[in-house]
C-alpha cells in the first residue's frame, strides 16, 4: 500500500485482446490494460462481460484470436507452462475435489506444484492458520460451508506463494462475513507484493479495489482506480428524503425527467444521479419539495457505471400501465407465513419463519446461499411441503388448496427457468397454457407481452440464444402473463447489468403500485433496499425483520452513523451468533 501506483511492477500486460467463440459477437473485443503487483485489481462487470474468459487467457488455458498477453514476462500464447508454474488460480466453484478431505486437497495441490516435502509442514501450518481450517483437516471438502470452501480454494491457490493470484468470482455464493474475511486475507497478500485479480459482478466490491477493469459485453469501459470512475458523477448524486406519499410513484415520475440520469429506491429515500449539478433545483421542484430535501450523497461505483452506459431507462412501465389496479380487498395480508419449518432429516433448513405481506408491498428474504431463503420461498409457492407451520397465498392454505393458491401467483425462478430450445413465442405460449389462459385472452396476452417487453423482433429466436437482458424480460413476461396477485421472484437480477436491473425494477415498482404483492429473495444488499420490509435469514432462522431503514438504524453506532445494508447484515449476524453462544 506504500508504493505509489506508478512504482508497482506491471505483472500482466494486455494488448488488444480479441477472443471469439464460434460466429457470435466476440467475448472479448479489443481489451487492453495492466495488472500490477502489490494491489488488488477488480475485474468488474455483469455476467457475459468476459471476465472469466479474460482470466482463462491469463492462465494460458485459452488463446486469443488477436492481441498479446504477457504474464510475469512470459507470452501467454507460447509460454503457458512457465506461467502456470508461477501463478495461483482459483476458478469459479473453487476447483476443489469434494470427495477429498481438506488435507488431501492441499496434498494434491502441493504435489502438482512440486512443493518440496520438507517445506510442507510449515506451509500447511501457515495456510491452515491463515484460513482458520485447522480444525477441519479431515473433513471432506464437499461437506464444508460455502465460506470454508472458498478459503480452502484460496489456500490451494496459494500453496506455492504465487506472484500473481487470479480469483474468479470468489464472492459468489458465500455469506458477507466470509466475503469480508477473504477480502482481508487477500489484502494481506498484496502487502507481500503479490498481484491479485478479483473478478466480480458486485459493483460494491469494485469500490474497495485499488484499480478496476470495468467490462461490459466484451468491451473494456474503464481502467484505473475506482475513484477515477466515481469522479465522473461527483457532486451529482443526491438522496431525496422526507418523501410523502408513494416513493415508487415519485421515482417513476422523476426517472422521466431529463435532468435525472438514474434513480433507485433506497429504503425510505430515493437515490438520484443528476445530469448536472445545476439541475438539483429543477428536480426538487419536479419532486414537489424544496432543494433542502435533496441531500448530497457520496457517489458509488454503480452510479458511475450507469452514467457511463448513458443513464438508466425511464420510469414508465408499459406492463404496469396495461394492468388493471387491484382492489384493496379485505385488508387481509396476501402472503402469510406462520411458523414455517422444513426439516431434511436432522437438518433444519428453515426454522419457524413467520411474516405477513400486505397487499401492494415488496417483501425481501435476504441471506447468503444455503441460509434457508429458497426453502422458505419454495414452501410459500407450494413447491415444498412444510414440516410444520402454515403458509397462505391470497387467503388459500398451501396445504389444502395448493392449486388455488398457485393460480394466484407468478413465479420467476433463479436463472430464468425458460425452455432454452423453445422460441420466445413458444415459451410464452407454453406458460400461458400452464397458467390456464385460453382462446382470445391467451392470444391477446401473448401479443401484449411481446409488445411491452420489445420481444417482437426476437419472437422466433430460441430462448437460450437471447442476450441475458432479454432472457430476463422473457422470464418476467412468462411470470406475469396471467396477472397474478402475488409475484415470487427468486434472485431475480443476480448477475445482470445495472441497466437491465433498473428496467426490471421499474416494472416491479409499477406492478406494486397497482396492488400486486411481491416476495423476493436476494443476496444483493442493494436490492434489499428496494423492499418495504425484509427478513434476514441466517442458518435457517429469521434473525431480524423490519424495513431497511429500521434494520440499518438498529446497528448505527457513533463511529458508523450511516451503515450500509451489508454493515447491518453483518452486525446483525454477529449479534445473533453472540446470543447463540
Amino acid at each position: 500500500m506504500t508504493a505509489s501506483a506508478a512504482e508497482r511492477p506491471v505483472l500482466v500486460h494486455l494488448d488488444g485482446i480479441v477472443k471469439r467463440f464460434g460466429a457470435d459477437a466476440p467475448a472479448l473485443d479489443g481489451v487492453s490494460g495492466d495488472i500490477r503487483g502489490g494491489e488488488i485489481t477488480g475485474l468488474v462487470g455483469p455476467d457475459g462481460a468476459g471476465k472469466t474468459t479474460l482470466i482463462r487467457l491469463m492462465t494460458g488455458l485459452m488463446r486469443p484470436e488477436a492481441g498479446s498477453i504477457s504474464v510475469l514476462g512470459h507470452d501467454a500464447r507460447t509460454e503457458a507452462p512457465a506461467i502456470q508454474a508461477a501463478i495461483g488460480y482459483m476458478p469459479q466453484r473453487f476447483g476443489l475435489y469434494e470427495d477429498l478431505s481438506v488435507q488431501e486437497n492441499l496434498d494434491l495441490y502441493a504435489d502438482m506444484r512440486g512443493l518440496p516435502r520438507r517445506e510442507r509442514p510449515a506451509v500447511f501450518d501457515e495456510l491452515l492458520t491463515f484460513t482458520d481450517l485447522k480444525r477441519f483437516t479431515d473433513r471432506l471438502a464437499g461437506k464444508l460451508s460455502g465460506g470454508m470452501k472458498q478459503k480452502l480454494g484460496l489456500a490451494c491457490a496459494l500453496i506455492r506463494k504465487p506472484r500473481l493470484l487470479l480469483l474468479d468470482e470468489p464472492g459468489v455464493g458465500v455469506d458477507p462475513i466470509s466475503r469480508r474475511e477473504l477480502w482481508k486475507m487477500v489484502e494481506n497478500l498484496t502487502a507481500e507484493g503479490i498481484g491479485v485479480v478479483w473478478s466480480t459482478a458486485y459493483l460494491d466490491e469494485a469500490e474497495a479495489c485499488d484499480r478496476v477493469l470495468l467490462m461490459n459485453v466484451g468491451k473494456l469501459l474503464y481502467a484505473g482506480p475506482p475513484a477515477g470512475l466515481t469522479g465522473r458523477v461527483e457532486g451529482r448524486v443526491r438522496r431525496l428524503t422526507g418523501i410523502e406519499g408513494s416513493r415508487r410513484k415519485l421515482l417513476a415520475r422523476l426517472l422521466d425527467e431529463d435532468a435525472v440520469v438514474d434513480g433507485v429506491i433506497q429504503g425510505e429515500a430515493i437515490r438520484l444521479v443528476l445530469a448536472d449539478k445545476a439541475a438539483a433545483d429543477g428536480v426538487a421542484r419536479a419532486a414537489g419539495t424544496d432543494a433542502a430535501s435533496l441531500v448530497a450523497a457520496a457517489p458509488r461505483f454503480e452510479d458511475a457505471f450507469v452514467d457511463m452506459l448513458g443513464g438508466g431507462p425511464g420510469g414508465r412501465s408499459a406492463l404496469a400501465e396495461a394492468q388493471a389496479p387491484r382492489e384493496a380487498g379485505n385488508g387481509r395480508p396476501v402472503i402469510e407465513a406462520h411458523g414455517l419449518t422444513k426439516r431434511f432429516g436432522d437438518f433444519t433448513a428453515a426454522d419457524r419463519i413467520s411474516f405477513d405481506i400486505p397487499r401492494g408491498q415488496i417483501f425481501g428474504l435476504l441471506g447468503p446461499n444455503g441460509a434457508g431463503k429458497s426453502t422458505t420461498f419454495k414452501m410459500l409457492c407450494g413447491l415444498l411441503k412444510p414440516t410444520e407451520g402454515e403458509g397462505r397465498v391470497a387467503g388459500f392454505d398451501l396445504r389444502r388448496d395448493a392449486a388455488e393458491a398457485r393460480n394466484r401467483l407468478g413465479y420467476m425462478a433463479q436463472k430464468f427457468s425458460l425452455y432454452g430450445d423453445l422460441s420466445v413465442s413458444q415459451n410464452l405460449d407454453f406458460f400461458a397454457g400452464v397458467y390456464g389462459l385460453s382462446g382470445k385472452r391467451r392470444r391477446e396476452r401473448i401479443a401484449m407481452m411481446l409488445d411491452i417487453f420489445d420481444l417482437k423482433p426476437h419472437a422466433s429466436m430460441s430462448a437460450k440464444d437471447l442476450p441475458l437482458g432479454l432472457k430476463q424480460r422473457l422470464a418476467l413476461a412468462a411470470a406475469v402473463m396471467h396477472e397474478p396477485e402475488a409475484l415470487f421472484l427468486d434472485e431475480p437480477t443476480s448477475g445482470v447489468d445495472p441497466i437491465t436491473r433498473r428496467e426490471f425494477w421499474t416494472h416491479i415498482n409499477g406492478l406494486v403500485e397497482k396492488g400486486v404483492t411481491v416476495l423476493v429473495t436476494t443476496h444483493f444488499m442493494d436490492e434489499a433496499e428496494y423492499c418495504d420490509r425484509i427478513s434476514l435469514i441466517y442458518r435457517g432462522k429469521s434473525i431480524a425483520l423490519g424495513s431497511p431503514d429500521e434494520l440499518k438504524a438498529k446497528v448505527a453506532t457513533a463511529e458508523r452513523p450511516d451503515p450500509t445494508m451489508e454493515d447491518a447484515f453483518i452486525a446483525l449476524i454477529e449479534a445473533s451468533e453472540g446470543e447463540a453462544t
Binding site: 488455458l61 502456470q84 476447483g95
Partner: protein, 376 residues
C-alpha cells in the same frame, strides 16, 4: 532434468492416489465397477438363456405307415423336441400363430413311397419367421433328426441287426449351454462399462465441477492428467474382470480351460481401446450426461450387438459385418471364449491383442491431442 522427472513422477503418483480415493468414496464408481457387472453376470448366468430345451412342435403325419410312425418315434425320442402328433396341419395352425408351439413339421402323403423309390423325401417345416431364433432351431434340429433317422435306417438295412449308432457331437460346449459362451462375452461388456462409460463420466465430471480447469492451471501436463486417469481405471477394469471370472467359474461352473496369463493379457489389451474411447469421449463432450450417452451408444451397444456376443457376425448383412470390424470387442470375445471353453490358442490371441493394442494407440493419440491443455 532429473528434478523435472521427479516432479513428473510425483505429480502422476499424486493424481493416481487422488483418483483411487475418489473411486473408493464415490458410490457411482462402485456401482459401475462392481454392482453392474454382478447384475449383468447374473442376468446372463440365470436369466437370459439362448438354450431351447425341448421346443414344443406339432408333427403332422399326412399318411400313417410303419415308416412314418418310425420317423415319428424318432422325433419323440429326440431330446430337443416335445412332439404332439396330428394328421392335419390345420390342427396346429392356431397354436403356431399363438406361439404355443415353435413349428409344424409335416410328413407329407407319399413320403413312404418316395423313400422306397429312393427319391429324396422331404419333411416340410413351417415356422414362425417372426421368431427367427426358434425358427432356425426347429429347422436345424428337424433336418438333423431326419438325417439321423435316415442314416440309422440305412445302417440297419445294410448291416442287418447290427444297427450303427450315429451320434451328433458338438465340440467345446457339449452341453450346448448358452451360459458357457455368454458369460465370457459378458466379461468383455463389463470391461467396456468400466473402461469407457465410467472413465468418460469421471473425466466429464471434473470438467463440470471445474477441477479439471484448476488442475490444468498447475504445471501438470496433459499427458500426466490422462495417465492419472488411465492407470487407476485400468486396474479397476482388471479387478472387475477378475470378479466376473471368479463368479463365472466358481458360481456358474463355466469351464476354464486356458491359462490365467492369457486371460489377463487379453483383458489388458482390450482395456486399451476401451479406455482410449472413454478418454476421447470425455475430452470431446465435457458433460456427464452426454458422455454417458455417447459411451453407451459407441461403446456398450456395439460391444453388445456387433461383437458376436449375442448375434453371429457371419449371419449379419455384409455392410454391418464391415462396421463390426471397428468394434474392439469383436476381437476379444472369440479369444475370451477360447480361454474359457477351448484353451490357449496363442496365434489367435496374439493377433487379437495386436489389433486391440493398435486400436488403443490410435484412440489415445487422438485423445491426447484433444486434451491438449486448452479449455477452448
Amino acid at each position: 532434468m532429473t528434478s523435472y522427472r521427479r516432479g513428473r513422477a510425483r505429480r502422476l503418483l499424486a493424481l493416481i492416489r487422488k483418483e483411487s480415493h475418489q473411486i473408493v468414496r464415490d458410490p457411482s464408481s462402485i456401482l459401475i465397477a462392481l454392482v453392474l457387472p454382478l447384475i449383468l453376470l447374473f442376468l446372463f448366468g440365470y436369466g437370459v438363456s439362448l438354450d431351447t430345451a425341448r421346443t414344443r412342435v406339432g408333427l403332422v403325419l399326412e399318411e400313417t405307415t410303419p415308416v412314418t410312425l418310425d420317423l415319428a418315434a424318432s422325433f419323440r425320442a429326440s431330446r430337443y423336441f416335445d412332439v404332439a402328433i396330428g394328421h392335419d396341419r390345420r390342427d396346429f395352425a392356431d397354436d403356431l400363430v399363438e406361439s404355443r408351439i415353435g413349428g409344424i413339421l409335416v410328413v407329407p402323403a407319399g413320403f413312404t413311397a418316395d423313400l422306397a423309390a429312393a427319391r429324396h423325401p422331404a419333411v416340410q417345416v413351417i415356422v414362425d419367421g417372426a421368431d427367427p431364433n426358434t425358427a432356425n432351431f426347429v429347422q436345424g434340429y428337424t433336418a438333423g433328426t431326419v438325417s439321423t433317422w435316415e442314416a440309422q435306417r440305412a445302417a440297419e438295412r445294410a448291416l442287418n441287426a447290427t444297427p450303427l449308432r450315429i451320434e451328433q457331437r458338438f465340440w467345446f460346449n457339449p452341453e450346448l449351454k448358452s451360459r458357457n459362451f455368454l458369460v465370457p462375452g459378458s466379461i468383455a461388456i463389463v470391461m467396456t462399462l468400466v473402461g469407457t462409460l465410467l472413465t468418460s463420466m469421471v473425466i466429464a465430471r471434473e470438467w463440470e465441477r471445474g477441477t479439471m480447469e484448476a488442475m490444468m492451471a498447475t504445471p501438470v501436463t496433459a499427458w500426466e492428467l490422462l495417465a492419472g486417469k488411465i492407470v487407476p481405471y485400468f486396474l479397476l477394469g482388471l479387478a472387475s474382470m477378475s470378479l466376473c471370472v471368479g463368479l463365472a467359474v466358481f458360481l456358474f461352473g463355466v469351464p476354464f480351460r486356458g491359462s490365467v496369463v492369457a486371460l489377463y493379457a487379453l483383458s489388458a489389451a482390450f482395456l486399451m481401446p476401451a479406455l482410449g474411447q472413454g478418454l476421447l469421449i470425455s475430452a470431446v463432450t465435457k458433460n456427464q450426461f452426454l458422455a454417458s450417452q455417447l459411451a453407451l451408444l459407441s461403446g456398450f451397444l456395439p460391444s453388445f450387438l456387433l461383437s458376436g456376443f449375442i448375434f453371429e457376425i457371419n449371419s449379419m448383412p455384409l455392410p454391418i459385418q464391415y462396421i463390426s470390424m471397428i468394434v474392439p470387442a469383436r476381437y476379444l470375445i472369440p479369444s475370451l471364449q477360447s480361454v474359457f471353453l477351448a484353451g490357449d490358442i496363442w496365434p489367435m490371441f496374439l493377433r487379437s491383442m495386436l489389433i486391440l493394442i493398435g486400436f488403443g494407440l490410435v484412440l489415445f493419440a487422438i485423445a491426447i491431442r484433444k486434451t491438449a491443455k486448452r479449455i477452448a
